[in-house]
Each structure stands twice: as C-alpha cells, then as structure tokens.
C-alpha cells in the first residue's frame, strides 16, 4: 500500500481496496497500524458521490512514512542484489 501512496498526495480508501485487491477490513487494519506508527494519516470528508451519509476516507503517507518507505525500499533492493 505504501508503494501506491508514495508518489501520491493522497488516495481514497475505496480506490486503495480496488488497486490492492484487499478487503476493507484488512486494509482498514493496515492503515490503522500505519497511523499508530506515525507513517500515515487519514482524513474524512463528505462526498456528493456517495448515496449514504458515510464520509469518504482519504489516506496519505506522512513525511516520516515516506522516509521509512524509501529506506525500506533501498534496503530490500540492496538485499535482492546481494546474491
């Protein structure tokens, strides 16, 4: 999910479930944990495109999340190239 959020300013929760093929429950849990780690933030706003009164959830990586993901990517790239 972080690979998707990294180049973006933000993404809607619904879009992330579509792209990742994850269930809403799993994605929600993942996002909650990333928020607790300080790697992501969420915002909710009403959307005229929704039929019900639920708010649209938008997710974005924090600067700390972007830095952590870049570090993670560099590390696994080095690891993959090591053999």
């Amino acid at each position: 999910m972080c690979a998707i959020l990294r180049p973006l300013d933000s993404a809607e929760f619904r879009t992330l479930t579509e792209i990742l093929g994850m269930s809403e429950a799993s994605l929600s849990k993942t996002i909650r944990n990333l928020v607790e780690l300080g790697y992501a933030s969420i915002s909710k706003q009403p959307s005229p495109q929704r039929d019900d009164s639920r708010l649209t959830t938008t997710v974005q990586l924090t600067p700390a999340g972007k830095t952590a993901f870049d570090g993670h990517l560099a590390a696994i790239s080095a690891l993959a190239d090591s053999n």
Binding site: A3, I4, L8, E12, M22, L73, L79
Partner: protein, 209 residues
C-alpha cells in the same frame, strides 16, 4: 497471491515482530549478513512472506529471495497505480483546453481589467476542475512525480504563458498575429501536454521515478 500476502501483512501488523531493534535500526537476528534496516516496514513485510519462503529460509536463501518477492509486490502495486494514472479523464483534458483557450483569447476584450478578471476566474475554475478530477480518479497528485513530468509541466506552463503574452502583445502593443490562432494553439498545446503529462507520470510511477 499478492492480495493474500498483503492480508497476511495486515494481520501481522498487530503482532510482535520477530526482528529486534539494534541501536534504533531493525536487524534480523537470524540473518547476520542482512544490512540493518531503519524501517519497521521490513519486519512487517518479512513476516508476510515467511509463510511463502519458509523452506528457503531453512536453506539459507531467505534474505534475497524474500526481498525479491517484496520488490515484485511493490512493482505490481506501482503498475496498478500507473494504469489508473494513465487513464486520465478525457473531459478534464477537454475542459482544461477550453479554459486555456478562453484565457489566451481574453485580451481581445481590450481591457486589462477584464483580462485580469477572466484569468483569475478561469484559473480558479481550473483548480476546482483538478480537484473534481482527483475525486473521480480516487487519487490525488498535486505535483509532478519525477523530473520528466516536472519538465513537461514547466514546458506546458511556459508555452501557455508565452501564448497569453503574445495575445496581450497583439492587442495592446499592436504586434502582428491572430488571437484566434493563439487561442486554438493554446487548446491544442493543453490537450497534447496533459496527455503527455499523464503518460509520463504513469511511466515514472512504474519505474519508481
């Protein structure tokens, strides 16, 4: 398999990591050759693929194989996002082209006040249009993804501003030229520029910039 692994990550996020902190960096005690990692992502994602590579773990190939699996997942995610970004809504492109054409043609009014008013109003409309486009696409990209898309944006804005300046020159400084041609050029440049921008951004997303 990708979705399954991601779900595994999600379920593992709430459990304790098998990796330990060493001086602020994450290190894997079972893999002494693994470089220290300064991200919690690694421990989270490594647990996800433990199930897949448990056999390889025993044979000592755990690190690089698992890293390649992770890179494969990241590449797949980037590809999915790139496809979405490449499918830029046609109505946004056409509306942006129409706005650019009207702004470039605004000097034909003959009054700088009207030109300023039209420009401010239509630039505001363009911003609102961008936000609506982001909402419909489900993702928001407010700035260029990489150096190539930044170049496209700079060239696009420069050409549009030059066409607008030329229109001002034609009306107020009696330069030779046609505002209608300028306006049509602005629309065409906007269409080509936006299509090029979405393709370039998709390409940069695929390759991680």
């Amino acid at each position: 398999m990708g979705a399954g692994l991601r779900c595994q990550v999600a379920s593992d996020l709430s459990t304790s990591s098998r990796f330990s902190y060493a001086g602020g960096a994450l290190a894997a005690p079972s893999c002494p050759n693994r470089p220290p990692l300064r991200s919690k992502f690694f421990s989270l994602s490594m647990r996800a693929t433990d199930t897949v590579n448990s056999m390889e773990s025993e044979s000592g190939r755990y690190g690089s194989d698992d890293a390649r699996t992770q890179l494969g997942l990241i590449t797949a995610d980037r590809e999915s996002l790139a496809q979405r970004v490449a499918q830029h809504p046609w109505w946004h492109t056409l509306a942006s082209a129409a706005l650019a054409a009207v702004i470039v043609a605004a000097p034909v009014s003959g009054s700088m006040w009207i030109v300023t008013l039209i420009s401010v109003l239509l630039i505001s409309a363009s911003t609102a249009l961008d936000k609506e486009c982001d909402k419909r696409m489900g993702v928001s990209i407010m700035k260029p993804v990489g150096p190539k898309s930044l170049t496209v944006v700079i060239v696009l804005v420069t050409v549009e501003v030059a066409l607008f300046g030329t229109s001002l020159g034609i009306v107020f400084s009696e330069l030779s030229g046609s505002i209608a041609v300028n306006s049509a050029l602005a629309a065409v440049v906007m269409i080509v520029g936006l299509r090029m921008l979405s393709r370039t951004m998709a390409q940069e997303i695929r390759h991680g910039r």
